[in-house]
Symmetry: none
DNA sequence: GCGTGAACCATTTAAAGATTGGTTCAATTT
DNA sequence: AAATTGAACCAATCTTTAAATGGTTCACGC
């Protein structure tokens, strides 16, 4: 047995052992695994080797670790999601639209100043994807991606976090999204043109035009939402 | 002296004494008042009577109290601020100003639509307090309270949370705040006028004017900040 | 050169005690 | 009789200290 093969075997053995532990229920109710020191004893392996296995599992997304806190199975808690859940109780669809109308035009304007050519190409691609999606779910997905890309390319971390918060609240209101998805072909055509205008104004580096185009788009969405709500109440 | 008049005098005396304390600077930099037990000794009044005065001041919105924590002057922090802090955005001062310029004019506009008479009275009071503060710490405290009140009175929980996010980042940049505090009397006068205009436009229910007034105020702040930064780099 | 175990470092948690506002109760004053 | 008062008790928060836990470094052995 050549040493480097023995080592490779050892590494994958540890990895398999940790996986087995996770799958067989060696996990507390809150998803907490035994400590590194405990695991290294339990699996009869050095802590350093264990850490390499845990590194791999963390890279894979199976676990998350926090210094001082421990090692946990699953996704790390999302502070934005928790904040969104807390305020979502008091927020209705109109509040969401109001917040979007506050934040997203400004994001579009900043994006027009800061977007890179790669960003613009990706936006064009996404507009195309939205247009060509045959079902509403897919269109919604690409639509969300476009708005997130604009928010990111705006290059302001606070506004990006604020956008993420609005997005989180919005995406947790599924019944509203279902109404949004009941779009007529005529509305889809309008939105495509609006998306194209937004991206064109951003590509032109015209912050004022980008702001206005995004505002127009969201105002249209908002009016559509209000019309649907009024129809539902009669 | 009829007995019931003596009692009424005592109650209003305590109330006036606490007000005086607040206005004369018996407040820590974070807005914290002495504890109830300290105040009752300091003002030579029973704690029960003092609490009645504090109850009144709290009802009036001048102070807020939290069991186990203390008694504070100004507008309470938004409950979602704790969660906002966990999101852990890092940003420089210009990003903070950029985010404020995005969010706060819109908050002012919504506030102009939704503020109640009590809110307006409180805003006027806060503007007065900012103006009359003899040190920069106190001015900063009242200034923060005014902006928080406007954000709250805007009545959109999502934007309130977004504001809390910005406020959290901003309040963690203490060295920046020290620069802000190096304000000339001329600048203070300008800011007072701007604050007054903001509140007047809100009281008039003029959303567009309120938005413009807040934008003007923050643009002024932003320029001042940039000027200070450029001076520091030479 | 690589892996290992030990030592050290940085962050979080837990526990205990202290602090602070909130409430109740009995005694006193009005 | 009603209101006030001071003391006692309760509930929430803070502070301090030590322990726990992941993160990193270092010296040694293979």
């Amino acid at each position: 047995m050549p040493p480097h093969l023995k080592n490779a075997e050892n590494a994958s053995r540890v990895l398999a052992q940790v996986r087995q532990l996770i799958e067989s229920g060696g996990v507390a109710a809150d998803g907490k695994l035994p400590t590194e020191r405990e695991l290294s004893i339990q699996l009869d392996v050095g802590r350093r080797a264990l850490r390499r296995a845990l590194d791999a599992l963390e890279a894979e997304g199976l676990i998350w670790r926090r210094q001082g806190k421990g090692t946990f199975v699953g996704e790390p808690p999302d502070p934005t999601g928790r904040l969104a859940a807390e305020i979502g109780v008091n927020a209705d669809a109109l509040s969401v639209m109001e917040a979007r109308l506050c934040i997203e035009p400004e994001l579009a304007a900043l994006c027009a100043i800061r977007a890179k050519p790669d960003d613009i190409a990706r936006m064009r691609f996404l507009v195309e994807r939205i247009d060509q999606s045959s079902d509403a779910d897919a269109a919604e997905l690409w639509d969300g991606s476009l708005h997130r890309l604009i928010a990111r390319a705006a290059g302001n971390p606070i506004l990006m976090a604020a956008f993420a918060l609005v997005d989180e609240v919005r995406s947790s209101q599924l019944w509203q999204d279902e109404r949004d998805r009941a779009r007529s072909p005529r509305l889809r055509e309008i939105y495509t043109q609006q998306h194209q205008l937004i991206v064109t104004t951003i590509a032109d580096g015209n912050a004022d035009a980008a702001r206005a185009a995004m505002r127009e788009h969201l105002t249209h969405l908002s009016r559509n939402l209000q019309a649907v709500r009024e129809t539902d109440q009669t």
